[in-house]
């Protein structure tokens, strides 16, 4: 175990980023063309970064696994993006967003980073508007805002229920503009499978062309991973099917520390699971909690009834009852745990899975009565349509049913203030890094973080790295390049030719998902975690013995792609459980049953656990490094949403 330092600037919080910017080295415009940079992933973080680096004149190569950068998972973000414009004059400020984010993260994030994020948030909106992102507007022509997930000010900008889509298309178009200008080259349907390390620095990547199966090496001066989150470790999640940990896990295996892997967010408002063959869970935007009221039947006998037949006095609006101040707008972790608690006590609704009803009502009747059907349709129409196409039920007539689902991963590659991992020359942005959300992320702040990283932070810190590290070009025949290519090819052969091929990647993924959901989901406990670690080790051995991939490897082979991703998820799953076991406290989304108050609230242990847990890969057992979190500017309090 050792202590880890983040290279934060010192001095007053308000001037840290400015001071740091001044101290960062620049590269003269005419010299930028000489520097090659690889960006893996072109979601919000990656596309915005490519656009900015391309605009500045660097040689950028980008990769994504979808058939177009426009399809990155960021496209699915619904609710909105936070920014401290204070257009509503409701008392918002950089300081308030900073404070809300730290508090929302249950005091497990780094002050300097979070303050910088809040500072940069306003500029993101400027950038997006200039690109033509059609945000919602008032009749006056000014930008509109709404309040979102656990905050008491209206600082969320939105484009109906498709904010991520519109922001991503803005970044995609800016990226496309650079592709047209030849500053950036891009390869879609390409999966990064290894980091090339030369003299302890990240100098390139090995990529598999998903159409031809060709394995190729690409070298550069540095590598930036913007490859998204790993919620799909749980098998069922709100993430797109392709979301994976492979890029970040390869980086971990090459020496980049993985921070807080057990900090995973379970989102309270998702369409409940219906059966065994389900492939994903769909999020119903949190914005619905602004106007919908959550309830469950008070009497267990009523759980089977049609909700219309349950009398008003027999309905338990449990969030309003338990948290009168924030009511239906409590943060995600608090809401999710409350829903689970209600269902565990037998008050759930909907069809039974494994003998339990997993669902509570989200009811819009009051707001429809107040504002009328049209006004509600204007606000939530697309979400209601989506719900009814999935469930076959009409939420205008009957309340929605919702249940929590894995949604976002606060954990990720450890990065310092420059967003550089513990490997020199390897950076991480967006959901792939662990940076700003502590133990729980507030709604509408992932888009903000991804874009702050891509538009404003990484372009500066990457330039600084390039300017301070003159590097010789890496030859294609360099032994490290040859070895990395070989490692990737060997692994593919291992996946293709297991000793006793028997089960599909889905089979193993579902098993892993079940273990993680039960042991490392909404509530965690030492015994269960220990048991899960053993089960996952067994699953891993079973996987390499019995994985069955049909077809051939030099072809478009989705079974092979999945097998590789599942193999990495299995290893990560084990680390998630180890991290959850190590953290003997509850904080944010990490709820250890041994450390919860009577009312089910997280009990933090600031004396012993006010640190970021960053794991270093070792062949036998991972090694823990601690980055102590020093709160110089705010006072640690107990989160209280009552």
């Amino acid at each position: 175990m050792s202590n880890l330092y983040a290279n934060e600037p010192t001095g007053p919080l308000e001037s840290r980023w400015e001071k740091h910017l001044f101290n960062l080295s620049l590269i003269a415009p005419q010299n930028r063309k000489k520097h090659k940079v690889i960006v893996v992933g072109t979601g919000l973080a990656g596309a915005s970064l490519c656009a900015t680096l391309g605009e500045a004149g660097y040689q950028v190569s980008s990769f994504c696994f979808q058939d177009s950068p426009r399809r990155a998972h960021s496209i699915a973000a619904q609710g909105g993006i936070n920014a401290t414009k204070n257009y509503q004059n409701d008392g918002d400020s950089v300081w308030r967003l900073f404070y809300d984010t730290i508090k929302g993260g249950d005091f497990r994030a780094r002050e300097s980073n979070v303050y910088r994020l809040a500072e940069l948030s306003g500029n993101i909106i400027d950038q997006a508007v200039a690109q033509g992102v059609p945000f919602a507007r008032e009749y006056s022509g000014y930008l509109a805002n709404r309040s979102f997930g656990g905050t008491q000010v209206s600082r969320t900008f939105y484009a109906r229920g498709q904010t991520g889509q519109q922001l991503l298309l803005g970044a995609y178009q800016a990226h496309s503009r650079q592709l047209e200008n030849d500053n950036v080259t891009h390869q879609s349907r390409s999966e990064m499978l290894e980091i090339i390390m030369v003299d302890d620095k990240a100098r390139g990547v090995v990529v598999r062309d998903l159409v031809t199966g060709e394995i190729s090496a690409h070298t550069a001066d540095c590598v930036i991973l913007c490859t998204g989150g790993y919620s799909n470790a749980f098998y069922l999640s709100t993430n797109a099917k392709g979301c994976n940990t492979s890029a970040t896990w390869r980086a971990y295996k090459q020496g980049a520390y993985f921070a807080n892997p057990s900090f995973t967010q379970i989102h309270p408002t998702c369409v409940p699971p219906t059966g065994e063959n389900q492939s994903k869970l769909t999020l119903m935007s949190e914005s619905l909690r602004n106007d919908g009221r959550i309830w469950a039947p008070k009497n267990i006998e009523d759980c089977e009834k049609n909700p219309a037949d349950i009398k008003e006095e027999d309905r338990d609006y449990f969030l309003e009852r338990m948290y009168p101040a924030f009511a239906n707008l409590v943060p995600r972790d608090v809401a999710s745990r409350a829903v689970k608690h209600i269902c565990d006590q037998g008050h759930g609704v909907g069809s039974k899975i494994h003998g339990q009803r997993l669902g509570v009502y989200l009811d819009f009747s009051a707001i429809i009565e107040k504002l009328g059907l049209d006004a509600v349709a204007e606000k939530y129409g697309n979400l209601f349509d989506m719900y009814s196409s999935i469930t076959g039920e009409d939420p205008y007539q009957t309340p929605m049913k919702i249940y929590p689902a894995p949604h976002y991963t606060m954990g990720g590659l450890w990065v310092d203030y420059n967003l550089m991992t513990s490997v020199e020359g390897l950076f991480a942005g967006g959901e792939a890094n662990f940076s700003d959300h502590g133990a729980n992320r507030l709604g509408a702040s992932a888009l903000m973080q991804g874009l702050a990283d891509g538009y404003f932070i990484l372009p500066k810190t990457v330039a600084n790295y390039l300017s301070r590290n003159p590097l010789a070009e890496v030859d294609d025949n360099h032994p490290q390049v040859v070895q990395s290519l070989k490692a990737v090819r060997d692994r593919i052969q291992q996946l293709m030719h297991a000793p006793q091929p028997k089960h599909s990647p889905e089979y193993f993924h579902q098993k892993l998902g079940k273990i993680l959901w039960e042991a490392c989901g909404m509530s965690r406990e030492a015994d269960r975690l220990n048991q899960a670690i053993g089960e996952i080790a067994e699953l891993e051995a079973h996987f390499w013995q019995n994985i069955k991939v049909t077809g051939v490897d030099n072809d478009l082979n989705q079974t092979l792609e999945r097998a590789g991703r599942v193999a990495d998820f299995i290893e990560l799953g084990k680390l998630m459980c180890q991290d959850a076991l190590m953290r003997e406290e509850s904080c944010g989304a990490h709820a250890r049953v041994e450390y919860l108050s009577e009312g089910g609230e997280a009990k933090r242990d600031d004396d012993d656990f006010s640190f970021v847990g960053a794991w270093e890969y070792k062949p036998e057992q991972p090694m823990l490094h601690k980055e102590q979190l020093n709160y110089e500017f705010i006072e640690l309090t107990v989160r209280n949403y009552k």
């Binding site: 656009a51 900015t52 391309g54 605009e55 979808q66 058939d67 177009s68 426009r70 399809r71 990155a72 998972h73 496209i75 699915a76 414009k85 257009y87 306003g122 400027d126 950038q127 997006a128 200039a130 690109q131 033509g132 059609p134 945000f135 919602a136 507007r137 008032e138 006056s140 022509g141 000014y142 930008l143 109906r160 498709q162 889509q165 519109q166 178009q173 800016a174 496309s176 503009r177 650079q178 047209e180 797109a240 099917k241 059966g275 063959n277 389900q278 492939s279 994903k280 999935i390 076959g392 538009y455 599909s504 889905e506 049909t550 077809g551 072809d555 478009l556 082979n557 989705q558 079974t559």
Partner: protein, 243 residues
């Protein structure tokens, strides 16, 4: 529910393909169309066969990856829906299903049900953006946009780039896709300035990518999962000075 599936199998773009018939039984009505194909693929793995390849990612109708022609309709015959949002309950009365890839010269089949839509990215690269310098932008509220225009721009901007409009068009034209982007940006003051140049470049690119031209069949708006209307095409024609 039990189904007979005739699925287009094609090894690659050089070899022609054919329909292969499969049977799948005991499908729950809450199963999505793609989950049904997942189950079929699990059967194929069990029988040591190569899986059927099809594009998907989000599985919630927003990424635009999924792309199947089902019984002759791109994204199936349900209105304003993507393939991934179809559920087997929608197919209670059609137990025999023909599943094909998008068919258009500019979308060559890669394998089975997967096509190459890079031509769409190329069209956007030719001019589908506002030429603002990334990294510097004026204060957002310095630019007012009337609500109506912003709402209309949003409607056009919801195009997911799936290509169903091309797949259904007898001319394999990408006009609806191109017009949606041109309209989105032209309706906003920040995009208005370059509108003619942009429209000309994108239109030319569409032609050079091998897409056909529009002869007003209007099938595109009927299959578009995001309800993009042909009024976008009228608007584009105005910008190009064709009306």
């Amino acid at each position: 529910m039990n189904f007979t599936l005739h699925i287009w199998r094609q090894k690659n773009s050089d070899i022609s393909g054919e329909f292969v018939t499969y049977k799948i039984d005991n499908i729950d009505e809450d199963t999505s169309f793609l989950e049904m194909l997942d189950q079929l693929n699990e059967q194929l793995i069990a029988q040591d066969q190569d899986c059927i390849v099809f594009d998907y990612d989000c599985r919630e109708g927003i990424c635009g990856a999924c792309s199947l022609v089902i019984n002759g309709y791109p994204h199936g015959d349900k209105k304003a829906t993507t393939t991934c949002q179809l559920y087997m309950r929608d197919y209670k009365h059609q137990t025999e299903l023909w599943v094909e890839p998008w068919r258009a010269e500019s979308f060559p089949v890669i394998k089975d049900l997967t096509v190459d839509r890079t031509s769409f990215d190329d069209i956007i690269q030719s001019g589908g953006y506002v030429s603002v310098h990334t990294g510097s932008a004026p204060e957002a509220n310095a630019l007012l946009v009337d609500k109506h225009s912003a709402d209309e721009a949003f409607n056009s901007a919801t195009c997911i780039g799936c290509g169903a409009c091309v797949a259904v068009c007898p001319n394999a034209s990408a006009t609806l896709f191109v017009a949606a982007k041109i309209t989105h940006l032209s309706l906003l003051p920040q995009g208005k300035i370059e509108e003619q140049d942009r429209a000309r470049k994108m239109f030319q690119k569409m032609e050079s990518e091998g897409f056909g031209s529009c002869s007003n069949h209007r099938y595109c708006e009927r299959v578009c999962p995001k309800g993009i209307t042909v009024s976008n095409i009228t608007k584009m024609n105005q910008i190009l000075g064709w009306t």
